[in-house]
């Protein structure tokens, strides 16, 4: 197990390093002259040079990268160009907001998708299965802003059940906050349902076809016991892995959903940074998103291997 963990951690560290280089190149090198981009074509050369010097963007590339990355790991994420605030002050609250929204969505989608996937598998190739599978996947592939707008129209405008903005008034109770977050969270639920339930369905079908299930049926166990004790235990394994890989996707979806519902999370922050050409803010928030994703995948890998000894031993060899 120790060796397995070390390999995983090593790989994650390498990926993280490459990720930081990519983010740095994307956010700091591609724009060319950062100060010129920021100030526009009309600004005179002297003030462009001065801003470049102030930002440190006139230094050699390697040094710029080093300054950025060493600052990052010391908690100094740079200063936002648009807000004139330390980036860490902006990212902290945004991350909390996004986590709240994501957690709300996950609490709804995980049980729903697992039940949906298991039901589809048990009814394999019948109408229920086709509806859950094709319907779920069709909903999952529609862009979040389209789903969100459909929900806004139905629940916000025509039925007038939920608020259209995600921002609850300050100091409102948890229930009120949940009411405001419901439509954005539901958008995420609809998008994620198809993916998670499809994997659960595949896992359940595999377990249903396995020899141990046949043995359990043949030895006379009631179907419910077979499903609960033999099928579900094995079928939920791949689901765990998928749920973790969806975190990265989830944050991507948040960019759109938070913009649509005007919710001040990470997605909105990245969008604002991109629109305002705020490269320090952009680079640091994208790197944070990448780290969140890598940690989530790592945890999923570990959880998966704890539950499934076969993988643990295969890697250790």
């Amino acid at each position: 197990m120790g060796r397995f963990l070390l390999t995983r951690l090593g790989l994650a560290a390498i990926t993280l390093f490459l990720l930081s280089v990519l983010v740095f190149v994307g956010a700091n090198l591609l724009p060319g002259n950062v100060a010129r981009r920021k100030l526009g074509n009309l600004a005179d050369q002297a003030s462009v040079d001065q801003l470049n010097h102030q930002l440190g963007t006139d230094k050699p590339i390697l040094q710029q990268y080093w300054n950025w990355i060493s600052g990052f790991f010391h908690g100094d994420l740079g200063t936002s160009l648009t807000f004139n605030l330390p980036v860490s002050q902006l990212i902290g609250p945004a991350l909390m907001h996004s986590l709240k929204l994501a957690a709300f969505a996950f609490v709804m989608v995980v049980p729903l998708a697992i039940v949906g996937g298991v039901v589809a598998a048990l009814q394999r190739d019948r109408l229920t299965d086709r509806i859950i599978t094709i319907g779920g996947l069709s909903l999952a592939v529609v862009p979040e802003f389209v789903t969100g707008i459909a929900l806004i129209l139905i629940f916000g405008l025509w039925l007038d059940l939920f608020p259209v903005s995600a921002n609850a008034p300050d100091g409102s109770s948890i229930l009120t906050q949940m009411k405001y977050l419901f439509l954005p969270a539901l958008t995420l639920v609809i998008v994620l349902f198809g993916y998670i339930s499809r994997i659960t369905r595949a896992g359940t079908i595999e377990a249903l076809d396995a020899d141990y299930t046949r043995t359990a049926v043949l030895k006379g166990l009631p179907r419910r016991t077979v499903v609960r004790r033999h099928v579900l235990r094995n079928s939920l394994l791949p689901t765990i892995a998928v749920i973790a890989t969806q975190t990265g996707y989830l944050i991507g979806g948040l960019v759109v959903i938070e913009t649509l519902f005007n919710y001040p999370g990470m997605g909105k922050l990245i969008f604002t940074a991109a629109n305002g050409k705020d490269f320090p803010l952009l680079a640091s928030s994208v790197l944070i998103v990448g780290i969140v994703f890598l940690v989530a995948t790592l945890l999923a890998d570990v959880a998966y291997s704890l539950l499934n000894p076969r993988i643990r031993y295969a890697t250790a060899e």
Binding site: V23, V141, I149, I152, L157, V164, G253, I270, N275
Partner: protein, 296 residues
Amino acid sequence: MTTLEDPTAPIAIPIRPDETKVERYERFRLLFRSPTFLLGFFLAGIWVICAIFGNLITPHDPVAPDILSKFEAPSGQHLFGTDKLGQDVLARVIVGARSVLVVAPLATILGTVLGTTIGLITGYYRGFVDEATMRVVDAVLAIPLIITALVAITAVGPSRTTLVLVIGFVFTPIIAKTVRAAVLGESRLEYVQAARLRNEHGPYVMFAEILPNVTGPIIVEFTVRLGYAIFTVATLAFLGFAADPTVPDWGQDISAHYPSINGGYWWPVLFPSLAIATLIVGINLIADAVAQLFER
């Protein structure tokens, strides 16, 4: 009465090309019998026709502002109503198909060509090149696709070319990963070893021997990615990075009008949304049917 000679052996070689042809024909026939495929083909087909004919089949001019008829509700005159500039929504929805259906397929083709090449090379040679490439691929995949595209497009500025390049490049690692996995499976087979023993060079083995045998997964991946490309193009347009802001575009029209939903003006938003949804669902139904066909 048994002979040692296998009776099928001598004729097996000459009929092989015909067999593949028959198989291909058979596949097409099965495809056109699948209700999933037919529904997807119908949905996507509508939008392809709109994209090709565009202005020729619209009832009104899609870019003719008319301040006297702003936000008119759907009626006989304007079936889908008019938007905040008084432009006909139906006409804009029809013409809007083009902006998505030019960029998305081009980007997917670029990503598939690059991804297939990288996947073949890394899967065939393995070793250090493979390890190194896969690390880079993992790093790219750690950032959500839409954010990568957002960063890149902010950096270089939006245009039709940059959209195609950015989305194509972002898809490359994903496709490379799929192709690599398929190539790894093939490399163990005897025909690859035989080609190696014949002393064929790498590129020949990769492109002439392995490639024809991994077209199934590549076609499946292509259709799936095409759906995502449309998704990405529409989303980027919604976020304000349309390929060409002067041309009608579904995502752009939605982002311009969703603040007016509160005023009860739902039609300039609903119809382009339905257009995006039906096009993407159509493409994905096709992808689903194609995947089932190749996995059987």
